[in-house]
């Protein structure tokens, strides 16, 4: 028994040490955002002498963050609605239905994990130009959609596969059509995995910047990562500490989203037990 306790304490020590390495960089960013520029330049590792929120206010006002926040939230929300809705439908079909070309379509979607983003940037730019959707939310939403669906589809499909077929049979006996089965049974059962996928897809839509920098031509349509990239290029006008404040603000949104759904997070992955 004693031995077991020692073992557990050793494990605790290991994981605590790792937590420090893992979380310190984040704490560091937060610390910088409270410093003055001079404090930051004189030592990047020291603590601020006093807490000042001026950087946050500066980031919010000077860097137009209020506009960018609205854009980022809109883009992320629309992406999430599309990704979650359509992935659930597709995953259900791939997990529980037999239809023509099933394997082909599945791999067609998963394949995106193998296409390097850098190379479709230019053809994609020509596409949104020709469709006349430059500077609209669609121009960001659809590429984010294709980016997020593959991993989401893998985890959601295996989650749906883990739901016993008997449930479907029972629904069928009750006279439910396939569509009704999906709406009444699969969708509610799939909520936890949707929460998980929501965090993953939300994170990548919220953080994406390369496509956004290239494709958005109107300042009023910038998203937060574009704003941060612009701030970084102009660090010397705004100050580095303002950038850290902006990074803190931006990260806190996604962390909040995660914390609010973390209850489902592990459980839903566990239920699906990603198996490929």
């Amino acid at each position: 028994m004693k031995k077991a306790k020692i073992a557990k304490m050793t494990l605790l020590a290991i994981i605590s040490a790792y937590s420090v390495i893992s979380l310190y960089p984040l704490v560091w960013v937060i610390i910088q955002s409270f410093k003055t520029e001079t404090e930051f330049l004189q030592s990047i590792w020291a603590l601020p002498k006093s807490l000042n929120f001026a950087n946050f206010i500066k980031a919010w006002n000077e860097a137009n963050f209020s506009d960018y926040f609205i854009n980022s939230i809109a883009v992320t929300m629309i992406t999430l609605v599309l990704v979650l809705g359509l992935t659930a439908m597709a995953a259900f079909a791939f997990a529980k239905l037999n239809f023509f070309g099933k394997k082909f379509f599945y791999y067609m979607i998963i394949m995106n994990m193998l296409i390097p983003t850098a190379i479709i940037l230019l053809p994609m730019f020509f596409l949104i130009r020709d469709l006349g959707i430059r500077n609209t939310y669609q121009a960001l939403v659809f590429p984010y959609f294709t980016g997020s669906v593959p991993l989401g589809l893998i985890i959601t499909t295996s989650y749906y596969k883990s739901i016993p077929d008997e449930l479907l049979e029972a629904a069928k006996l009750d006279g439910c059509s396939i569509f009704q089965t999906f709406i009444r049974i699969m969708l509610p059962l799939g909520l936890p995995i949707m929460a998980t996928q929501g965090v993953l897809a939300g994170m990548s839509a919220w953080n994406e910047y390369m496509w956004a920098v290239i494709s958005i031509g109107e300042k009023s349509r910038f998203t937060i990562p574009v704003g941060i990239a612009t701030l970084q290029g102009a660090a010397e006008a705004h100050g580095y500490v303002v950038i850290f404040a902006a990074l803190t603000l931006s990260s806190s949104v996604i962390v909040a989203l995660y914390l609010s759904s973390q209850k489902f997070f592990i459980k839903s992955i566990a239920a699906g037990a990603v198996k490929g």
Binding site: E37, T38, L41, Q42, S43, I44, E62, L82, G85, L86, F125, F126, R129, D130, L131, G132, I133, R134, Q138, V141, F142, S177, I178, F179, Q180, V213, I214, S215, G217, K219, A229, T230, Q232, G233, A234, A235, E236, A237, H238, G239, Y240
Partner: protein, 455 residues
């Protein structure tokens, strides 16, 4: 049941599709996309005097939109949409604007990109407008510029000069020069003076190193600075006499003096005079090192001065000097017209755009406090005397004239530039390659990527 189901699903799918709007372009959509243009024209004819312009820049002098605001304040009737992008993203963005025919009416450009923008026909030929009045209207626009800066602007187009014969497709916005920044107090502590000769400079470096400082700065995005400065010392006069020496084969990359330029930098590196982080550190990292008094001398352009002056500790006494010539010749400086303002060839508001371009090269602009540390490309701009100490090095550097953008053509094509910056200079510093290999490689690239393409 089945019918109902199919109907339902179809409706759902159509709903998703319409919400998503992901159908290929239909007439309806393309007409909706052309709408804003129509309404723009309508509003134009309605208000008539409102001139809408777009300005794009990479210069950190304009990292906030103050310049657009000032211009609008001084010029009622103008609306300027302003966009600043750091240069890492700037040129990719300009390309997308060009591809979608949305070029900003006025935009900044620079060295190789200036050549590219000119070649692609994105810029208006401004040569004949040099005779029109300047922004203030007191003299001809062309006469306001410092002649040396104008020369330097013209020399950038040298690789394609045969077609363009000394034309101006963009005007120099500032007179850039490069000087060495140092802290007088630190120099006094170590017991050294700003160097007058290369030997003094090197002995200073040794003393600084012994005293525990990193003597001199190396910044990855400016890694080609030292070879270019040294080449001017060894080969500047000769190439000035015979600008096509490399093309005709009179000079080759195997020339001793080409190699000497590279070895000069190698010597500083091997002796430990440059920050060893320099092969990957950017100017921001190096600024931190300097402010923390770990780096003793920092070579930089005036564009970054304001930040340094605003944030340096009060007990630093900053001053600048010119880097002495390695070959004993009067030291010329890099820079010149390294930032240029051009007018888009597709602008619909040419007169307005020209006015904005003139404003960006005017005394009025340079009188503004934000421009305190920038060196003007135009004559008769008085600097605050209290800045003399810090600006002296820059003024002295410009005095001797500018090193042409292309001297030894090691970076004449984008491919050569990539190899030079990514492989050759770092490889030489790290001992992965030697000057003979480098000469061979450059000569081969010069032939395949430049001479052969020219034919």
């Amino acid at each position: 049941m089945k019918k109902k189901l199919i109907a339902l699903v179809t409706i759902l799918v159509m709903l998703v599709l319409t919400v998503a709007g992901c159908t290929p372009p239909t007439p309806a959509q393309s007409s909706s996309s052309s709408k804003p243009a129509d309404s723009k024209q309508e509003s134009k004819s309605a208000e008539k005097k409102q001139i809408k312009l777009k300005l794009a820049t990479f210069s950190t002098d304009f990292s906030t939109d103050w310049v657009a605001k000032e211009f609008m304040k001084l010029n009622p009737g103008y609306t300027v949409e302003f966009e600043f992008l750091p240069s890492a993203n700037y040129y990719g963005k300009i390309m997308t604007y060009a591809a979608s025919n949305e070029m900003p009416d006025v935009f900044f450009t620079q060295s190789a990109n200036y050549i590219d923008h000119t070649k692609k026909g994105l810029l208006t030929d401004l040569t004949s407008y040099l005779d029109t009045p300047s922004y203030e209207g007191d003299m001809k626009w062309g006469d306001t510029f410092i002649p040396a800066v104008l020369d330097s602007a013209r020399s950038i187009l040298k690789p394609i000069q045969s077609e363009l014969k000394g034309k101006y497709y963009a005007m120099p916005y500032a007179m850039t020069s490069v000087a060495v920044m140092y802290d007088k107090k630190l120099f006094a502590k170590v017991g050294i003076q700003p160097p007058k000769t290369w030997a003094e400079f090197m002995s200073n470096n040794e003393k600084l190193k012994q005293a525990g400082y990193i003597p001199f700065s190396l910044v990855t995005e400016w890694i080609d600075w030292y070879p270019r400065i040294f080449w001017d010392q060894y080969l500047g006069e000769e190439i000035a006499k015979d600008p096509t020496a490399f093309e005709t084969g009179k000079l080759t990359f195997s020339d001793k003096r080409v190699q000497q330029g590279l070895l000069g930098m190698k010597e500083m590196w091997d002796k430990g005079y440059l920050n060893e982080s320099g092969l990957t550190a950017n100017s921001q990292d190096v600024t931190n090192t300097f402010i923390q008094r770990k780096l003793a001398q920092y070579m930089l352009t005036p564009t970054r001065l304001k930040y340094l002056m605003d944030n340096a500790p009060k007990d630093m006494d900053l001053a600048t000097f010119v880097l002495p010539g390695i070959n004993g010749k009067p030291p010329k400086t890099l820079g010149g017209s390294s930032m240029l303002v051009g007018v888009s060839s597709s602008t619909k508001e040419f007169e307005g755009a020209l006015r904005l371009a003139k404003f960006l090269t005017s005394k009025t602009l340079y009188a503004m406090p934000e421009m305190k540390y920038q060196n003007a490309s135009i004559k008769n701009v008085k600097k605050d005397p209290s800045l003399d100490q810090i600006m002296k090095g820059y003024a002295d550097a410009a005095e001797n004239g500018f090193i042409p953008e292309i001297l030894v053509p090691a970076e004449i094509t984008p491919q050569m530039r990539e190899v030079f910056m990514q492989e050759i200079v770092p490889g030489l510093m790290l001992g992965k390659t030697n000057v003979d290999e480098i000469s061979k490689k450059l000569q081969e690239l010069y032939k395949t990527t430049y001479l052969d393409k020219k034919k």
